[in-house]
Symmetry: D3
Subunit: 256 residues, 6 copies
């Protein structure tokens, strides 16, 4: 059987590992959301799971099944809810999913839980889910939870090399160079390089409007061009992410 | 790209298929739950997704990402919540997940949604989720939803051949001959035949007790023995399930 | 005053009994649901309350007021929600009712609570209600809860004698021979034998469809014929149910 | 069968009546709450159901099963939650019960729904339940809902005759003269006149305190003495209530 | 900085006061609701905050920011939800607001919390919020909560002098003499005496109807005339309220 | 009376303005949260309300009462929930508050609603509240909602002049130069310049940890120093914010 993916381990094997090596458990959280014509709908879950797995391999961690459906897509970071294919859940649902699973990991005896978020819109609802789970957990439990958006572990140096003309900021990095490069590294068969649109970077006003105005977003759903993405950049970033997240996990959880 | 798994399709490809061929969309629902020492924790999600994919291939359907976490495990059908590794969600969370995703598929223009349940405990919460989504959906939407537990599509004939000494009933078929055989067919590398316990069939009283009594369930978590499971039985069942579900989908959704 | 029905006892009398004899408290759960032209809408609550009272009398138990409204009727076991008269509640409401009342019985000092379910569709929502109440209850409380569907206490022998031509299974036993016989025993004035329809057993496909298809269900609402029901059969079953449930309650709650 | 109590009617009979005579449907709401040593725990549900039935008989109405569990008892009007036997539900649960049942009556085609409240603490949560149901109901539905606390239909004249020394106000009328007299009229076998305590009227400060202070309430749970209650007063009040509520129902629902 | 209004104190100053003088903290709860043509929409929040501040000044208390939005306006006490300008929240929202803030004050170490309600419709939802917070609070916390409707602290003597022709009861005191006089005392610039309508007292039947019937309420929204209100009456009442609430707070919280 | 603050207007005046001039309505959302020893707990609500009022004055808008309690404070942007004085609400509560109030403004006939957020942690829960309200609103309503964090309207030019040594980013701008300067402009009496700590900028890792680690945050609660704040900078920013938000409101809402 598998020793990294929790869903492919027997409960006996999982349990033995929890009891003996006190490993970090990674919970990837993604989305099913349009990522332009060149990336698949599942990109956020695929990448957060891949980053989690790469990290787990470095430090003998375990990866739980990804939460595949994320919070509702917003125009400025994911294109918005008017796209066919984007399949999102309400705040209460995502909060509940995180709350319940965190509570369960605490019951298992997990002490180091790392939630790896790959969908920008999820962040605050994951935070609420963790907070509510912390209220639920019995005083005896030793669980602590780290929550991270994986891209925050890229160094300035790497961003400079990936974006020689300057990094436009994570806000527009939806289906763009970072995600496309990482997908070319992890799932090259799921990328259609020939279909990358050359949409100039989207330009948003300093507010949001509801109902959303679809005209704010290019019809392709891409907020800044993915031209320039390649597998090599993907590999560099993937290795840096795994190494730096692993380092943070070790440092944070071993310090207590 | 992939033409069956929604999370591996671009939104453009998915959308084109929805608009042109009006395909059935399959939503598998599973669990992360102990399945004895010989099957992995993700068995229910893996099998419901596999059955959905086999069916979808026969009739050009699309398979959405499985809901990987299911309702709380009960002693009589899944061993119970005292097992380490079993990772479950509350009723409200599962209801919300189904409600939200059904509502989204309606927005996409999906008219034929098939929810393939692989975890016995999920059934009634899926039902509530669908019912609430039906209230939410705009009058114009044409979505109809089929919900099924895949094992209900096995014929008496097949059950007789799989259980020559008599079928003990689905209640005890947790991590037993049906699931083990199907896993040997679909995911042979995730089955440890050498670890199958020979626990006699569990014998439960005609009631449930809370808090659950762990003594009701064999320590292995297996409710009736999986001895006798083999890949050939798995293949026979897998083919029958896909064929008969496909037939039902076509018949039900084309009749209107 | 009354010594069995809690709602007819004063709090002083109830409290004294709880403190001195530690009696089992029975909470019947029913529904307000079509039961064909020959049985009243309240059948499920009337029968679960009657079974609870018969059992309580045997072992000096107390019967709390029945929950009179149940979860939404499903075509395959109750005819479905399209019937006028069927009056159902959402999952959240039933879960809340059970959660709150269980928590209150724990506060009273009740240690043996028996939830007697008489409506098939309620089972899983009662289960969730109990589970959530168990989370709420203070560590000191000694409450344990037994949940049962009363018909599961009928013996094979009795089923054979009630159904000499073979028992069609509980799935179709809605407003049919078991319920009609029990009503003839407990509430003969509420049964209209002259109106029993002779609908052949309903034949359902191995899936459910939403919105429900009313054509699946006979217009009478009866899933298999009640012809053959009589008060004598009702009496035999009523006595067996009370005796066997009483025995289980004593055995389960005294063993600790 | 019965022609007043919905739970004792078949769906066919109920439905025929709804379609042909457009009758008012009464939904009694009570509580399971201490009512001193002389009245039973179910007093509020018993009385609201009795008043509803008396009224329904005058104008060919139908009485739905009472909601038997009410909102949490407060010291100033019901003695408080520290009494053993008092069994209450949270706000959300009561709101949900009312919301769901109102929505169902609208589906049946009921146009005149009268909610007869017999437990002071319920009023505002019933109001919220009705309001939310009104949001849910389809535009076509003609349902209107009347909500009333039955005691508000007593005339000044009657109050003067029942309380020759002056009416102390409804606030203290818990398990006191009005309720005891009505119970002596409707359910004389459930009243223990010999156990009526002679607690002077409780004297409360103009605020509430949480957690409640049990010392505010006489240990008997009676807020003002029931001495002076008799069946004759009960009959006078019962007749007046039925007559005046019937008159209001006819006037209000026929005016549109 | 300010020493009464919490939102104008630094956390350092607030915290020091909590730790050293164990002061009562007042949480005013109001509404944004029509109050006739002569009083502002925010009357209930302005008055509950003013009464709280006057009281706090007498006993070195602290006043938290008012909850400015209240429960839905009812015809008989606030005119109803059909008025433009009335801006209300659902039960669940108000319950949540109270629950969350009470829990937070307990975390701060507050032991004496006084919720000053100025909107009749809020009472029961505040009660539920407090009750749920009490369940949440850790065993160690010493918080107790007093809830009051400020008008209940007016003495009979004062009511007689304010209403020489007899007090019509609080039910009709919406935008009438008490509120108008208090506003003339606290916020004279926000009162338009010239616009006071002379609507006779509204006369309501002993029930409520849903959807509400706007004809029950004078078009001005005033339930009984405010003619006769003046600042002097306001001052008398304001002083009495502050003095008597202060006295109750001291007596109640120091007695333990 | 007042013509800008809704809570100081009568319903008649408010309503007349809505019907005749179709004004934008501003809903400020703040928090009650530690802001160092030099700023008051209510800073976020005071500033969002002040910015809203300044903007409303420019374009004849109306300002609704601020939501004074915000979502739970996070270490990286508000210091965290371990501070005494910080008084926060759960996600569900804030979502409900926004949902309910938006729905009410739609009922009033408001077409231009501007939610001015002054507390970083609120953003996503406001978004969910608006989204849910949009589902609730009747098809006929013309309401559109703009949501903004006010600081996003500062120009690069202004940031350069306020931060001659470089802008450290909004993440650390809690109780720092921008907020302190704006408070010195709008509420100088609530600022204690003498108490500004000289804490160097906080340095956070690229993840969050739960339970939060108080050591991450300076004991003062200030994330970067407010030294250099002055009223003149405050005035420049206040004017720019009002002017630019007003411009955006006019442009966005008049374009349709």
């Amino acid at each position: 059987m598998n020793t990294v993916n929790m869903n492919k381990m027997s409960w006996v094997a999982y349990c033995a590992q929890i009891k003996t090596t006190n490993p970090p458990v990674f919970l990837p959280v993604g989305a099913l959301e349009q990522h332009g014509p060149h990336l698949p709908l599942g990109t956020d879950a695929l990448l957060s799971a891949a980053v989690a797995a790469s990290t787990a391999e470095l430090i003998n961690g375990i990866v739980a099944p990804a939460l595949s459906y994320g919070y509702k897509s917003q125009p400025k970071c994911g294109g918005g809810q008017h796209f066919c294919g984007t399949t999102s859940v309400d705040a209460q649902t995502l909060i509940g999913l995180v709350r319940d699973t965190v509570r369960e990991f605490a019951r298992h005896g997990v002490e180091k839980l790392v939630i790896v978020n790959g969908h920008f819109e999820n962040q605050w609802f994951i935070t609420e889910g963790i907070d509510l789970a912390m209220r639920d957990i019995q005083p005896g439990a030793k669980l602590r939870v780290m929550r991270l958006e994986y891209w925050d572990f890229l160094t300035e140096t790497t961003l400079h090399s990936v974006f020689p003309n300057g990094f436009p900021g994570y806000a527009l990095e939806h289906a763009a160079i970072i995600e496309t490069s990482l997908m070319l590294h992890y799932h090259p068969d799921l990328v259609r390089l020939d279909l990358i649109p050359d949409d100039g970077p989207a330009d948003f006003p300093p507010y949001d409007i509801y109902p959303a105005n679809p005209d704010w977003v290019p019809p392709s759903g891409v907020l800044s061009s993915a031209l320039g993405a390649d597998a090599e950049k993907g590999e560099i970033m993937a290795k840096e992410l795994a190494a730096r997240i692993a380092q943070a996990v070790v440092a944070e959880f071993n310090q207590t």
